[in-house]
């Protein structure tokens, strides 16, 4: 009682299945990212911002330190789009130069925290057992530390230099990365293709490097992006409290700090508005990009 030849039905079905083209993970992720218009806009803003901060002062040609009592305390105008301060210094160029500091600190801090986080997480995940436990207890302790206070403390005690600030921020940002990396290691360690690689004879270290790490990096990338936003806010807060960069170095937060009397008592709103706005726009853009990245790189959403 065999059924008639399968022929026509089966062929048509296989045809449909084969029509979807294969795509690599990265181009797929980029496609997903592109659909997120806000993330794209955020990326654009960040690119513009970086360009402005790096090239702007050169193009403008104004000296951020140039004192000009004739033009002091002026509001925004064509000559000084962001106004001037009590020394007559052009605020726009100070903003751009200050931006260099803020962005540099944030990037450096995130970089350091990722390196530390990856090392700790990879070690914990791969070694397992006592080492893993000890390191995770350490992570717990760091999570429970009152971060802002200790950052303030470190900067006060060790002096407010670029390196100190970077380290102070990084000290409280590495834990998340460590946990993510460890989690990836733990889940991927047992996967079949690792077993397969092992049976062929690939050494443990190479396995860690070439097979596990790339997969572990995806959540880390998202975390790092959002980490930049946090780093900017912490550095700005620090500088605002007068504990971060000292004059003549002026990050956006420091500019805000120096503008307090001018804004509150003299009504020179532009002194406070622009630096804060820069922080806000940067952080917002980074958040949008991070959001877009999270959607794009989340493997569970690939079927959408």
């Amino acid at each position: 009682m065999a059924s008639p030849a399968l022929g026509a039905g089966a062929d048509a079905a296989t045809e449909i299945v084969l029509q979807t083209p294969a795509r690599s993970l990265w181009s797929d992720a980029w496609r997903q990212f592109r659909r997120h218009r806000l993330a794209l806009a955020g990326l654009g803003v960040l690119v513009l911002l970086t360009a402005a901060v790096v090239l702007g002062p050169l193009i403008l040609g104004t000296d951020p330190q140039a004192i000009d009592f004739g033009a002091k305390d002026e509001g925004p105008s064509l000559a000084h789009p962001a106004g001037t301060d009590e020394l007559g210094r052009d605020q726009l160029v100070r903003l751009l130069v200050g931006g260099r500091l803020t962005l540099a600190v944030a990037s450096a801090a995130v970089l350091v925290s990722i390196v530390v986080g990856v090392l700790v997480g990879a070690l914990a995940g791969y070694a397992g057992g006592f080492v893993d436990n000890a390191l995770m207890r350490l992570v717990d302790v760091f999570y429970s530390l009152p971060s802002l206070f200790i950052v303030i403390l470190l900067v006060t005690l060790l002096g407010a230099g670029f390196a100190t600030i970077v380290i102070a921020i990084a000290v409280f940002s590495w834990m998340n990365t460590a946990r993510l990396v460890r989690a990836s290691y733990l889940s991927l360690k047992e996967k079949e293709y690792i077993e397969a690689a092992r049976t062929i004879g690939v050494g443990d270290f190479r396995i860690a490097l070439r097979h596990i790490l790339p997969n572990a990096l995806t959540p880390v990338i998202v975390s790092a992006t959002l980490g930049i936003a946090t780093a900017i806010l912490i550095e700005s807060a620090l500088s605002f409290l007068g504990l971060g960069f000292q004059p003549p170095q002026a990050s956006w937060g420091a500019m805000l700090n120096q503008s307090q009397t001018a804004v509150i008592n003299q009504g020179h709103w532009w002194r406070g508005f622009f630096p804060g706005a820069m922080i806000f726009v940067t952080v917002l853009s980074v958040n949008y990009v991070g959001d877009g990245l999270r959607d794009a790189l989340d493997p569970r959403k690939e079927e959408r």
């Binding site: 060790l158 409290l241 307090q260 804004v263 509150i264 706005a277």
Partner: protein, 322 residues
């Protein structure tokens, strides 16, 4: 459930010990050790006086001994004396603590009062204008630096409009009774509390909305609807009852963050709370006070975590009736 409570509480103790060790060690990290600045920067201290101070505060003892002495003191209530004022540390801190607690408490209440209704409404009316607007606003809200917000508020309401005072907690010329005094207090608190609660409100709103959305798609909500129950019942008794569980834990964990964030608020509005005390003491290298404040902050964080865990266990029947 009982064992769960005991187990989690016991776990907190080694954590506290670990934290106290880290804190203690960090303070030893200054180049030259404690009292270094009073020697170096042309301070009033002579080498002699410093030596005497060192003896008095036991700074020449080996570190572990110092640690045990200090930790033991904390537990028994002797928090040491301030290098700066000579007054007991505990007393100094307790002077300032209520202010910070007031700010933190008010900010927390405001954050909840706004985030809960807005988040729930946004989730139940997903894709509506209200949802888009509130989600957009809360996303933007977490990116606003609180000090910038404070500064702009001060410009607008203090300088420009003159409606609200720019600093402190009360007008010292005022009498302390009567409705005028009440408004005086309130007007001094409005902006600081608004600034402190800004980010917490934005974050909490997003969490509430997210949690509700997840729950609203669960099968049991469909079952409740399918049984013909009124929508309000479905949303409150079925959806929110479950969505609240992670939200409560997040909310509890926000309290220590608010407490720390008060540093900035106190700085802008010149309020004498613990945050300001911390910065002043850091500047003066007043170690006993610093250690004291850090201890309180750390205890707060650990307690909040513990409370969050316990609440979670309490609210989730799978754990409490396990």
């Amino acid at each position: 459930m009982g064992t769960y409570v005991i187990r989690r509480s016991l776990q907190a103790i080694p954590l506290l010990i670990g934290i106290s060790i880290v804190i203690f060690l960090m303070l030893q990290m200054t180049p030259g050790g404690p009292l270094a600045s009073s020697e170096a920067g042309g301070g009033r201290a002579t080498a002699e006086r410093t030596e005497r101070l060192r003896e008095e505060f036991g700074l020449d003892d080996p570190l572990p001994v110092q640690y045990v002495n200090w930790a033991g003191g904390i537990v028994t209530g002797d928090w040491g004396t301030s290098y700066n004022t000579g007054r007991p540390v505990l007393g100094t801190i307790l002077d300032r603590l209520p202010t910070t607690l007031l700010l933190t408490g008010l900010a927390f209440v405001i954050a909840l009062a706004i985030a809960l209704p807005v988040g729930i409404l946004a989730a139940t009316r997903q894709y509506s204008v209200f949802d888009y607007v509130s989600s957009g606003v809360s996303f933007v809200g977490v990116a606003i630096p609180s000090f910038w917000f404070g500064l702009m508020l001060l410009y607008l309401f203090s300088f420009r409009l003159g409606w609200l005072p720019s600093s402190g907690l009360e007008d010292l010329r005022m009498q302390h009774v009567g409705p005028a005094a009440l408004w005086d207090r309130a007007s001094h608190l409005i902006m600081p509390v608004a600034v402190l609660s800004l980010i917490a409100t934005a974050q909490l709103t997003r969490y509430v909305r997210g949690s509700m959305l997840e729950v609203l798609h669960e099968d049991y909500v469909r079952t409740a609807r399918g049984s013909g129950l009124p929508e309000r019942s479905v949303i409150v008794r079925h959806a929110f009852r479950n969505a609240a569980i992670p939200v409560v834990t997040i909310a509890v964990l926000m309290v220590p963050e608010l407490f720390l964030g008060a540093v900035i608020t106190e700085s802008i509005f010149a309020i004498s709370g613990m945050g300001r005390l911390f910065i002043e003491s850091a500047d003066l290298r007043d170690y006993p006070v610093l250690l004291g404040i850090l201890t309180i902050a750390a205890v707060l964080v650990v307690l909040a975590n513990l409370l969050a865990d316990l609440l979670y266990g309490l609210l989730d029947p799978r754990i409490s009736y396990g």
